[in-house]
Amino acid sequence: MPDPQPVPINAKFDDDFVTQLVIVLNTDTMREVAIKVAQHVVGKRLPKRDADMAVRYQGRDLPADMTVAEAGIAPLQNVYVDWVEKRVTL
């Protein structure tokens, strides 16, 4: 099996104020992509929430178990990660 390949994406997280460079792997699932994007924002610039996250690419919400390669996410493309439910962690 070939080694996982890094894929640099231009990622935006929910209500954050900038898009950011995040390096994901082509073997990462969308669940892992969401975590990698969120780690630069959640708890830093936006509060933690008790909610799931969803990844959107080219206007499509992607299943949590789908990998970057399966989703066809190419380097340098926009990826959006959002809270699915907006409940503030108390």
């Binding site: 954050d16 900038v18 995040v22």
Partner: protein, 507 residues
């Protein structure tokens, strides 16, 4: 011997030109530098500057101005005024010195290009004065900043910034290479003296002079006021050039103005916006950035371009909306990525300051409050690491500012998003539709690699925050940090529970 009055000889002297007999006109004034385009060369004979100035007048006036600036500086040098200046104000001055000093030197080169390749002797004459002006501005900035280096090494970036890969320097190079270094002289005249200097330098030199005086930095106020008197004169090279261009190629004139106005507006939202609305102490603020822009830039500039028969730029509504948001976003970005700048940005979001911001910008709390609240919680929890970056914001391929900063959170009309463009199989990203449009039209003139692209092509090693800071030239002694060591966040601390106030009495 009786001297002739200036008006008796001025027009003859300034119109002296040569009829070349042994060299082609094209060799002396090549089109790629003189840039006449659709304008017949004969038409440039009508170029007429509104402000007449002979060399003797110029020298006498400049000598007086120089004397005044340096006398004030010498007097204040002996005082302890530097120590008493607010740290936030010092940051404004550091931004100015680092971002402006060597751009003034680039302007020398642009003026010299007009002084050599302008197609009217009168224009070339004015441009020579312009070049001398810009040499003076470079020297004043560097001289004033130099005095403070022993007290604060961040002032060394007055000279250093532009020679580094700091993102601010890349923003400056991208902007001013496109405006001053790459174009022919007609385009320079429309972009630099007409759009940038007439339209925008008021902002840096008039608004900031008022804030400097209020903040007690008399020497700085005096220096930039003196600079502006020169700008007001040599900026007048733009008008006569535009007048001729409007007769022969109004489409070109409109395009040059539209693109330069947009790029300048993006730049000043970084250069001046945070200084006016965040770094200047609250009690010293005269006007908000938006108020100043509306009064001095929007109204004045529209009147000016309409006088020449030009239309509002196509993105006008987007620009006006940006006055509400751009500089707040950039301030937040500078503070969060504060290690990447050569000054100490202050948060500027104490409760009183937030009340002022909310009054001036009715959506401020809704758009920026949640992010600042999260940062404040981290500060008060002692988690400073949580307020620092571990990656780069994606940068716009035109203005090189972070993508998102031409918008704001909770803003349905201009949401935080990228405007991508795939060209020759490569995806470029832009902060806004106008940046994308301008890049597409002028990519040969305006394209430079962003820091993200430098990182992804392996030029920055190691490819982490430490490697990026080193690549930018930021060393620990000049790396930015919060201006007040986060003390401003203390007022947001939850009061400690009073002993015995909960759980009833156990007495």
């Amino acid at each position: 011997m009786a001297r002739m009055k200036r008006e008796e000889w001025y027009n003859i002297a300034r119109d002296v030109d040569w009829t070349r007999s042994y060299v082609d006109e094209e060799a002396v004034f090549p089109e790629w530098l003189s840039g006449s385009g659709k304008v017949p060369r004969e038409a440039w004979k009508s170029w007429d500057e509104p402000y007449k100035c002979a060399y003797s007048d110029y020298v006498a006036t400049q000598r007086e101005k120089e004397g005044s600036v340096y006398a004030v500086k010498a007097a204040l040098q002996r005082s302890n005024i530097f120590e008493s200046l607010d740290e936030g104000w010092k940051s404004t001055a550091k931004v100015h010195f680092g971002a402006v000093s060597l751009v003034e030197y680039l302007a020398v080169l642009a003026e010299q290009r007009m002084g050599r390749f302008g197609l009217s002797p009168a224009w070339r004459n004015m441009a020579v004065f312009g070049a001398l002006d810009e040499i003076r501005h470079t020297q004043m900035d560097l001289y004033l900043a130099h005095e403070f280096i022993a007290k604060d090494p961040q002032f060394d970036w007055a000279l250093k910034a532009y020679h580094t890969n700091c993102w601010c320097a890349i923003v400056g190079r991208a902007t001013f290479d496109g405006m001053m270094m790459n174009p022919n002289v007609v385009d320079i005249a429309i972009q630099l003296p007409f759009t940038f200097e007439t339209g925008f330098t008021n902002l840096q030199f008039v608004a900031l002079a008022a804030d400097a005086l209020e903040s007690g930095d008399v020497s700085f106020a005096n220096m930039i006021s003196s600079t502006q008197t020169d700008e007001a004169r040599h900026a007048q090279q733009g008008g006569p050039t535009l007048e001729i261009l409007m007769q022969h190629d109004p489409k070109r004139a409109q395009w040059m103005i539209d693109k330069t106005f947009w790029i300048s507006a993006r730049l000043f939202s970084l250069l001046t916006g945070p200084g006016m609305d965040y770094y200047t102490p609250l009690e010293h603020r005269k006007q908000s950035y938006k108020e100043f822009m509306e009064e001095w830039i929007v109204a004045e500039f529209l009147r000016l371009i309409e006088d020449y028969g030009l239309k509002k730029p196509w993105y006008w509504e987007e620009f006006l909306a940006g006055l509400e948001t751009w500089h707040h976003s950039l301030h937040l970005g500078v503070w969060f990525w504060r290690q990447t700048v050569w000054m100490k940005p202050q948060g500027g979001v104490s409760k009183a300051e937030r009340a002022w911001l909310q009054e001036k910008y009715p959506h401020w709390e809704e758009q920026w409050g949640p992010i600042w609240d999260t940062l404040i919680q981290n500060i008060n929890a002692g988690n400073i690491g949580g307020t620092l970056p571990e990656t780069l914001p994606w940068l716009c391929n035109l203005c090189h500012l972070p993508i998102g900063t031409a918008a704001s959170p909770n803003n349905p009309k201009y949401p935080v998003r990228s405007y991508p463009l795939t060209h020759n199989g490569y995806t470029y990203h832009f902060c806004s539709r106008p940046c994308r449009q301008i890049w597409w039209e002028d990519k040969d003139m305006l394209h430079q690699k962003t820091i993200v692209e430098h990182l992804l092509t392996g030029e920055i090693q190691p490819p982490d925050v430490g490697g990026i800071l080193a690549w930018m030239g930021l060393t620990p002694e000049v790396m930015g940090d919060d201006a007040y060591k986060y003390k401003w966040a203390e007022e947001y601390r939850e009061p400690a529970p009073v002993a015995g106030a909960e759980g009833g009495s156990h007495a």
